[in-house]
C-alpha cells in the first residue's frame, strides 16, 4: 500500500515535532535523537518529516536516510493499532496458515507488511511462535488464537473494531 502522510491530520504533531527539533538545534550529533523524537511522535518516519529534518539540521537527506535505515528501531511505514501476526512456521503452514493469512489480507484489503488506511490493522507473517500443537496460530497484539479456521477471521476483525468485507 502506498502510504500518504496527512499533513492536516498531523498538524499538532508536526508543531510538537518542530519544537523537539528546536531543542536539539545546537546539540552536536542531533540527528539520532531527532529521529527518535520523530519515531515516537509519528510512530514512524514520514518522508516529509525527514525532509523537514534535512532542512532544519542542514544534513543531506541521503545521509539521513542512510542513518535511519541502519538502525532497526526506525520504521518507514506506520503500524496499525492492532497488529495481526500470522504464524507461518512449518506446522502452521501445513495446517493452512497461508490460507488464513490470505483471508486476513482479503478481508482487510491489504497485504502482509502493510497497514489499513484507517490505521486500525497491520498484518505481518512471523516465523514459528512455538505453538505448533495448536497450529495454525494467529496473534492479535498479545492475544493468541489457536487452531484458527478461515471462517473465524471475519469475527476476529470485527472483535477489534474493524470492518471486514
Amino acid at each position: 500500500m502506498e502510504f500518504k502522510f496527512d499533513k492536516e491530520k498531523n498538524k499538532e504533531n508536526i508543531e510538537k515535532f518542530k519544537k523537539t527539533v528546536q531543542t536539539y538545534k545546537d546539540t552536536k550529533g542531533a540527528l539520532i535523537p531527532v529521529l527518535q523524537g520523530a519515531q515516537e511522535i509519528f510512530g514512524y518516519l514520514p518522508v516529509e518529516i525527514l525532509q523537514l529534518i534535512s532542512v532544519e539540521l542542514n544534513i543531506p537527506i541521503s545521509e539521513i536516510y542512510g542513518v535511519a535505515t541502519f538502525y532497526s528501531q526506525f520504521s518507514f511505514i506506520p503500524k496499525g493499532e492492532n497488529i495481526i501476526s500470522v504464524c507461518l512456521g512449518t506446522a502452521c503452514y501445513v495446517k493452512g496458515g497461508q490460507e488464513i493469512l490470505e483471508e486476513f489480507e482479503n478481508q482487510l484489503g491489504i497485504k502482509a507488511g502493510d497497514t489499513t488506511e484507517d490505521m486500525k490493522f497491520s498484518i505481518t507473517s512471523t516465523r514459528c511462535v512455538g505453538d505448533c500443537s495448536m497450529a495454525p496460530v494467529v496473534l492479535v497484539n498479545d492475544d493468541v488464537y489457536p487452531r484458527l479456521k478461515k471462517d473465524k477471521v471475519k469475527e476476529i476483525i470485527l472483535k477489534y473494531g474493524g470492518v471486514a468485507k
Partner: protein, 577 residues
C-alpha cells in the same frame, strides 16, 4: 624518519607513511581494492573495509591493512607470507561469492579492478558460495546505470559524490549483508538530486556504476536513411588513443575523424566550432553585463553537471550563469537549422550524435528547453569509451589510420576552443576574445598560465581598459559549492568564474577512458590539449573565419535577437534534496 623491514628488506620512510606506500618504495606490490587516493583532487577513500591489502605485522595478533596502517619504528612486515596471501585470497573469494559472474557481458569487462585482482591472484574457484544480493538495477536515468549487485561496498562513489562533489546523491542504506549504496528513499537516480557528473563511474572499481549505453541506437541511425552527423568534444582527441594502447595525451584528432568517417557517419564535425561560437556569445554577454550593470559574476554554463548542481542547490542564483547553451547544444541547434537549410534537408531528417567525455551530456540532450520544436537538438550522446567500442567493433586499426580533416562548415576551430577541454580553458578562451573586443588591441601573449593546472580553485586578475577584471576557475563541484557560498555571503568579488563539475575539467570527465586512480593521465591529457592549441594557426575564437561567416550569413549580431533564439537558454529551479 622511520626504519622498518618489509619482506626482509630494510626501508626508511617519513613518519605517517602507510605500509602500502612504504612497500611501493621497495617495489613490493600489495593488492588493494577499496583504497583510492587521488590527492590531486582531495579524494581519499581509506575506508579499509575490503580487507584485501592485509599483511602480517610482527607482534600484532591480527593481520593489518596496508592501506591504512601507518608504519612505526622497527616494524617487521611480511606481505608475502602464506598467512597473508591465504587470507587475501579468501577475502577475495568471499567478495566473488556475492558478485555476478557475467564478466563477459559486463560493461566493465577488461576495465574491472575486481576482475583484474581475481586474475592476478589466480583465483580458479570460489569455495564459499551462497545467497547473493538481488537488488533491482536502476536504469531510470539517461546517464548512469546502477547495478548494486556488482557493488563491493568500497564506498569510493560515496566519497566522490559526498566529499569531493558535495552532491550527496548517494549514501549507504541498510546494514549487514543487505547494505546497498543508493539514493534517499531508494528513489530512481532520475528523480534524485544526482547531477550525472559521472565521477562515481570514474572511480567505481567494478561494473556497479556505468554509463547508459547508446551504441546500438546510433548504429541503427547510421544504417537508416537519415543524415547522421557527428560532433566531437575537445577532450576526446587527447584521450581516445588510450583505448588503443597509446600514451595518454596523444593527439589523435585526425585518426578520430577518419575513424568516424569509416564508421559511416555522413558528416564529421567539431564541437570546437561551437565552442568558438560560445566564446563569441559569452564574451559579448560579459561585456553586456559589465556595461549595463548586470549581475556579476558571470558563470560559465558549458557543463551540464554543474548546471544541474546550481539548479538544485542555489536556486536564488540562477540568474548568474551565462545563458549560453553548452557548445554541443549550440552545434545541434545549428545543425538542424543553418546546416539543414544549407544541405537542403528537413531538420527531422538530420540526426545529431555528440561524442562527449561526459555522461551528464546524455541527460542534458533530453532537457526539453533545449529542444527545437518537436525534435531534440542533439539526438544521441556517446562517451569516449562508447566510441572506442564502436571503432573496435568495426575492426578499425585505429593506430594505423591516416589523418583526415573535419567536414565544413561546422568543422573549423581555433586553439581557444580546444582548451575548453581542460579546467580554466573556457575562461582563458573568453579572455582572449573579450580583451580584444573591449580594448580593440591585439592580445600578444594568449596563454594565461595562472588559470591552468589542477588546483581546485584558481584566481587571476586581468586589467582591461584600466579596469581590473577578477577571474576564478574551479573544477569539482565541492569547489564550486564553496565559491558559490562565498558569493552568497558577499565575500567574493569576481567578474567571471569558470566552473566544471569534473576534476580536471572535461579531460577528466565521467565518460573518458578509466584512469584507474592514475592522476598523471589527466595531466598528460591536459598537456595534449595545450599542445593542440599551440599547433593551431588561429588561437582566438573571433578570428575563426567560419565563425565570422556564420554570423554574417545566419546569426547576425553576437548576443543579438537571433543569437538569443538559437544559442541561449534558461535555468529551472529544482528540488533541493
Amino acid at each position: 624518519m622511520v626504519n622498518l623491514k618489509i619482506n626482509g628488506r630494510e626501508v626508511e620512510v617519513p613518519e605517517g607513511t602507510t605500509i602500502l606506500e612504504a612497500a611501493k618504495k621497495l617495489n613490493i606490490k600489495i593488492p588493494t581494492l577499496c583504497h583510492l587516493d587521488l590527492h590531486d583532487i582531495k579524494f581519499v577513500n581509506q575506508s579499509s573495509s575490503c580487507r584485501i591489502c592485509v599483511v602480517e605485522v610482527e607482534g600484532k595478533k591480527n593481520l593489518q591493512t596496508a592501506c591504512s596502517t601507518a608504519v612505526s619504528e622497527g616494524m617487521n612486515i611480511r606481505t608475502d607470507s602464506r598467512r597473508a596471501v591465504k587470507a587475501r585470497r579468501t577475502v577475495l573469494e568471499l567478495l566473488l561469492s556475492n558478485h555476478p559472474k557475467d564478466c563477459l557481458v559486463c560493461a566493465k569487462n577488461h576495465d574491472c579492478e575486481l576482475q583484474k585482482l581475481s586474475a592476478d591472484l589466480g583465483i580458479r574457484e570460489v569455495r564459499y558460495e551462497g545467497e547473493m544480493n538481488d537488488f533491482p538495477i536502476d536504469n531510470s536515468s539517461l546517464s548512469i546505470v546502477r547495478d548494486p549487485n556488482k557493488c563491493i561496498l568500497c564506498k569510493r562513489c560515496e566519497t566522490m559524490c559526498n566529499n569531493v562533489q558535495t552532491v550527496h546523491a548517494l549514501s549507504e542504506i541498510g546494514r549487514g549483508f543487505d547494505t546497498v549504496i543508493g539514493t534517499a528513499f531508494n528513489l530512481p537516480m532520475h528523480e534524485s538530486n544526482c547531477t550525472f557528473c559521472g565521477q562515481c563511474i570514474a572511480v567505481c572499481p567494478t561494473g556497479a556504476l556505468t554509463e547508459v549505453n547508446k551504441i546500438s541506437k546510433v548504429w541503427k541511425e547510421i544504417n537508416s536513411d537519415k543524415v547522421v552527423v557527428v560532433q566531437t568534444a575537445p577532450a576526446i582527441r587527447v584521450a581516445l588513443g588510450e583505448e588503443f594502447g597509446m600514451e595518454p595525451g596523444t593527439q589523435v584528432t585526425g585518426k578520430m575523424v577518419s575513424a568516424l568517417k569509416l564508421l559511416g557517419f555522413d558528416k564529421v564535425y567539431d564541437t570546437d566550432f561551437a565552442a568558438d561560437l560560445t566564446i563569441m556569445e559569452e564574451a559579448t554577454e560579459l561585456m553586456h553585463r559589465l556595461k549595463h550593470g548586470g549581475r556579476l559574476p558571470i558563470l560559465t554554463s558549458c557543463c551540464p553537471g554543474w548546471v544541474k548542481f546550481i539548479e538544485h542547490n542555489f536556486q536564488d542564483m540562477l540568474d548568474i550563469p551565462s545563458t549560453c547553451k553548452s557548445p554541443h547544444e549550440m552545434f545541434g541547434t545549428l545543425a538542424k537549422t543553418y546546416l539543414a537549410e544549407k544541405m537542403g534537408h528537413k531538420p527531422e531528417d538530420i540526426i545529431v550524435v555528440s561524442v562527449m567525455p561526459c555522461v551528464a551530456k546524455k541527460y542534458e540532450a533530453a532537457r526539453p528547453e533545449l529542444g527545437l520544436g518537436g525534435t531534440k537538438a542533439v539526438d544521441y550522446v556517446l562517451t569516449t569509451r562508447e566510441l572506442a567500442i564502436m571503432i573496435k567493433e568495426s575492426g578499425i586499426d585505429f593506430a594505423n589510420l591516416q589523418d583526415e580533416e573535419f567536414d565544413n562548415p561546422l568543422g573549423e576551430s581555433s586553439g581557444a576552443s580546444v582548451i575548453f577541454g581542460a579546467t580554466g580553458g573556457v575562461i582563458e578562451a573568453a579572455l582572449r576574445t573579450a580583451y580584444e573586443f573591449m580594448t580593440g588591441e591585439t592580445l600578444e601573449d594568449v596563454e594565461f598560465h595562472s588559470l591552468r593546472g589542477m588546483d581546485g580553485i584558481k584566481e587571476a586578475s586581468v586589467t582591461i581598459n584600466g579596469e581590473k577584471i577578477n577571474i576564478a576557475v574551479c573544477h569539482g563541484l565541492g569547489n564550486a559549492r564553496s565559491i558559490l557560498e562565498k558569493i552568497q555571503r558577499g565575500e567574493a568579488n569576481y567578474h567571471a568564474i569558470e566552473i566544471m563539475a569534473c576534476p580536471g575539467g572535461c579531460i577528466g570527465g565521467g565518460g573518458q577512458p578509466y584512469h584507474h586512480g592514475d592522476m598523471s593521465i589527466l595531466k598528460k591529457r591536459m598537456q595534449g590539449i595545450y599542445n593542440e592549441d599551440r599547433g593551431k594557426a588561429i588561437r582566438k575564437s573571433h578570428e575563426n573565419p567560419m565563425i565570422k561567416k556564420i554570423y554574417e550569413e545566419y546569426i547576425g549580431e553576437p548576443y543579438g535577437e537571433k543569437a538569443h533564439e538559437l544559442l541561449h537558454t534558461r535555468y529551472i529551479p529544482r528540488k533541493k534534496m
